[in-house]
């Protein structure tokens, strides 16, 4: 029995992989990124924090694969450790944002009435403020740190998620099997948890993957503006920030590689997100 399940699972995977080659490419990029983040200390050839006067602004070469920054720190090792920061922010913000957004969306769809109306208005208020502007004001109030960056990016995500979940719940409630469950006398909450929640999972995954990219971009922008994750943690956006911009001509590797890392990971998450959407939730195709 279990053999057939796993067999059909792999069939399914290979079918989808053939159908969405770009999605597979995105998946591979993301896996590499996640592995780099998890095993950063083992993978990075050098200590990302170690300063070295002799290697200041060293050009890419055999020791410093992607060159060294002004402090003589290895750019390649910093990029690998930087994946940690990006991953922490992306996962943290997406999980918190989606989690709360999901709860709010479910509640809206179920409680309805004044609660729904209130949340709707709050959602509209939050959507009137651009993600980066919100995040800027929040980090400025809380002070720059990893935790605050995650919070600042998570909060603006909530309404987007809540809105999608809500509309999903509303349509699910009309479904025959939910009606049937109701007829058997199941409580509303049990229906919500057993029948409705699992069915919102697909759109939630699609949405969360799509948001991964924008959280990484927002973190990079915040750090670039000096309000994100502070030194000496190697955040990609920070590496690109002012001090790197100072070496546009003398040390271009300080500008090229961190930007490449950001773009590649966001690109990967976009590819993956597109494929997942096509596979799991065809209704949302644009």
């Amino acid at each position: 029995m279990s053999a057939t399940i796993s067999h059909s699972f792999w069939n399914n995977v290979s079918y989808n992989a053939r159908r969405y080659p770009l999605g597979v490419a995105g998946g591979i990029i993301m896996i590499v990124f996640v592995l780099a983040a998890i095993f950063a200390s083992a993978v990075a050839p050098l200590d990302p924090f170690n300063t070295n006067a002799k290697a200041s602004l060293a050009a890419p070469g055999p020791v410093y694969l992607m060159g060294a920054d002004m402090m003589g720190r290895d750019v390649f090792s910093r990029l690998i450790h930087g994946a940690r920061v990006s991953l922490a922010v992306a996962l943290g913000a997406t999980i918190i944002g989606s989690g709360i957004g999901c709860a709010v969306g479910l509640a809206c769809g179920y409680i309805g009435g004044w609660f729904d109306l209130l949340v709707q208005r709050v959602t509209e208020v939050m959507q009137a403020l651009p993600l980066l502007v919100m995040a800027l004001v929040i980090t400025a109030s809380l002070g720059p740190s990893l935790r605050n960056t995650i919070v600042a990016i998570a909060i603006p995500l909530i309404p987007t998620v809540a809105r999608v979940i809500r509309s999903n719940v509303l349509s699910l409630r009309e479904m025959p099997y939910v009606e049937a469950a109701k007829a058997t006398g199941m409580s509303e909450w049990r229906i919500a948890i057993i029948h409705v929640l699992p069915n919102t999972l697909a759109p939630l995954i699609v949405l969360a993957t799509a948001q991964l990219g924008s959280t990484i971009l927002t973190e990079a922008s915040l750090s670039f503006l000096g309000l994100g994750v502070p030194e000496p943690y190697p955040s990609w956006g920070r590496m690109l920030s002012e001090s790197a911009a100072e070496y546009v001509r003398t040390a271009p590797w300080l500008v090229i590689y961190p930007g490449l890392a950001i773009s590649l990971v966001v690109f990967g998450s976009n590819l993956l997100g597109d494929a997942l959407r096509d596979a799991l939730d065809p209704r949302q195709r644009d």
Binding site: N50, S56, M71, P230, E231, E242, V248, T250
Partner: protein, 531 residues
């Protein structure tokens, strides 16, 4: 060797500019365009302590006395009259009388009189509430007993004690004469002076414009039609803008030695000077907050610092190493090499110092596995951040695990004043290379800018003693001792003395740069453009 070469190059540039200045006749006209680094907090020089305000607005004002433009080193002997025509000491050097220039007018047409002088120093010395929001250099003027207007063209300063440095402080760019009749809020937004240039407009984060004062009291001057500062925060953009010819020079002392090299490679004719900016990187340790109330931990912290590594990384070895006072030959009061070697932590063998630091930490129960965790606070701009990152790396050597806490400028100063930090990496400039300025501003008990609240009454007696001394050499010996004690006590350990580069196109003439301060030569009334 490279230091020697650099000094020779400086001398060469200076000689060249002197020679060309003498050989050519000044030309009238043109607007001098200068890149600026950030938004000045206000236009009022007396209320600010940054080159961002000092340089652009110095041309609006005059002082009583100034450092002679062609004197390369700011010192007492170089002081010459400006709004004063002469001065005289009496009463055992406790009374200083200035005769004032006649017929000088403020930019709004009102006449300049002795009242304005009295007004200005009554306010900055804190005797009269001038409604200024801040008064960063109040401690400079501790020696003023009172100021008497003898007649509209003569004013007398009565001092508590003789103070040779008093004239030096009056000569700095931070000591302009303000008009009595203009309220402080206006001076912050639309300053009125007697200087060669009138204020036109100050657009936040964008530009500052000055225009020629046609009624300037120096006949025929200034030569420039105006000066325009454009604020370009990104250094590399500013450099490219300078190279493209859109600008004639950059704000003084802002280019790193690395960038200066780059500029001169791209534009071979570009004139550049890398000089001490009278700015120092120093370590702030909050001696009231455990565990730093323990002198041993403070000492271990200081022992971890490799000053040479700071200089090498931040400036390719160009930054000076020294104590509170600027190192010679540019500085007048800094330690000699021989004397410096006797100061703890300044020895050549860093590893030995660090070993000692580790021993101290180990005796307090710390180790590589169980390091002391702390936050290193700093201002969130590159100069500060870079230094703090290096500091954190060095602290690792004595079992201290630092985490950076970057703070926006506004928050940073707020925290300093509230002493709300554990360890801070600070970069601080002083307007004039002078012991009175340095000690009274930063190290006296209760001074506003004494961020670490260091207080040593015995040392303060010495502050006053050296302040009254006329004999330069004898005074210098005491200054060296004071400086040594400050470092031994870890009052505010000096990590490096910064240098900064100024570049200008060869068609800019009549610039004067002193080797021991960047703050004092921006009147620009004899600058001109050869185009």
């Amino acid at each position: 060797m490279s230091r020697l070469l650099r000094r020779l190059a400086i001398a060469g540039v200076c000689a060249l500019s002197l020679w060309t200045g003498a050989a050519q006749a000044q030309k009238q006209g043109g607007v001098l365009r200068i890149t600026h680094r950030d938004n000045p907090p206000s236009a009022s020089i007396h209320e600010e302590a940054t080159i961002s305000t000092d340089m652009p607005f110095m041309g609006v004002f005059n002082n009583l006395v100034v450092f002679a433009p062609d004197a390369k080193q700011n010192r007492l002997e170089a002081v010459v009259p400006e709004l004063a025509t002469s001065w005289a000491y009496s009463d055992g050097d406790r009374t200083l009388t200035f005769k004032l220039r006649d017929g000088v007018k403020w930019h709004d047409g009102k006449p300049f009189t002795a009242e304005d002088v009295k007004c200005t120093w009554d306010v900055v010395s804190g005797k009269v509430d001038g409604k200024m929001r801040k008064n960063p250099r109040k401690t400079w003027w501790f020696d003023i007993k009172d100021i008497v207007v003898d007649n509209p063209l003569q004013v007398t300063f009565h001092l508590y004690d003789p103070q040779p440095s008093f004239l030096v402080m009056l000569s700095g760019g931070f000591s302009p004469v303000y008009p009595c009749h203009v309220p402080a809020p206006q001076m912050r937004t639309h300053p009125i002076g007697t200087g060669p240039f009138k204020f036109v407009e100050f657009k936040q984060n964008e530009s500052i414009r000055l225009e020629r004062n046609k009624d300037y009291w120096k006949p025929g001057q200034p030569y420039l039609d105006g000066i325009e500062y454009s604020i370009i925060a990104n250094r590399s953009t500013a450099v490219l803008a300078l190279e493209s010819g859109k600008f004639d020079m950059n704000i003084t002392g802002e280019l790193t030695p690395e960038l200066v090299k780059d500029v001169q490679k791209e534009v071979p004719g570009m004139q550049c000077l890398v000089q001490p900016s009278n700015t120092q990187g120093n370590l702030l340790i909050n001696r009231d907050r455990p565990p730093f109330d323990d002198a041993k931990i403070r000492r271990a912290l200081v022992l971890s610092i490799d000053r040479k590594a700071f200089s090498d990384i931040l400036s390719r070895g160009i930054y000076n190493i020294g104590g509170a006072m600027l190192a010679p030959p540019e500085g007048l009061w800094g330690w000699s090499k021989e004397f410096m070697a006797t100061v703890p932590g300044y020895g050549a063998d860093v590893e030995k110092s660090r070993e000692e630091g580790r021993k101290i930490m180990a005796s307090l129960g710390y180790s590589a596995e169980k390091p002391l965790q702390l936050k290193v606070s700093t201002r969130n701009i590159p100069d500060y951040r870079d230094a703090a990152v290096l500091l954190i790396d060095h602290l690792k050597n004595v079992y201290i695990q630092g985490e950076l806490e970057p703070l926006d400028s506004a928050v940073w100063y707020a925290r300093l004043l509230k002493k709300d930090y554990a360890v801070g990496m600070n970069v601080q400039g002083t307007g004039i290379d002078d012991p009175d300025v340095m000690f009274f501003e930063n190290y006296t008990c209760g001074s506003e800018r004494n961020y670490t609240a260091y207080c040593n009454k015995d040392l303060e007696v010495l502050f006053h003693k050296q302040s009254q001394m006329k004999d330069f050499e004898a005074r210098k010996q005491i200054v060296w001792q004071i400086d040594k004690t400050l470092q031994e006590d870890g009052a505010r350990p000096i990590v490096y003395q910064a240098q900064g580069g100024t570049c200008w196109w060869p068609h800019v003439k009549g610039l004067h740069l002193a080797v021991n301060s960047i703050y004092n030569h921006w009147r620009l009334d004899d600058a001109w453009l050869e185009r």
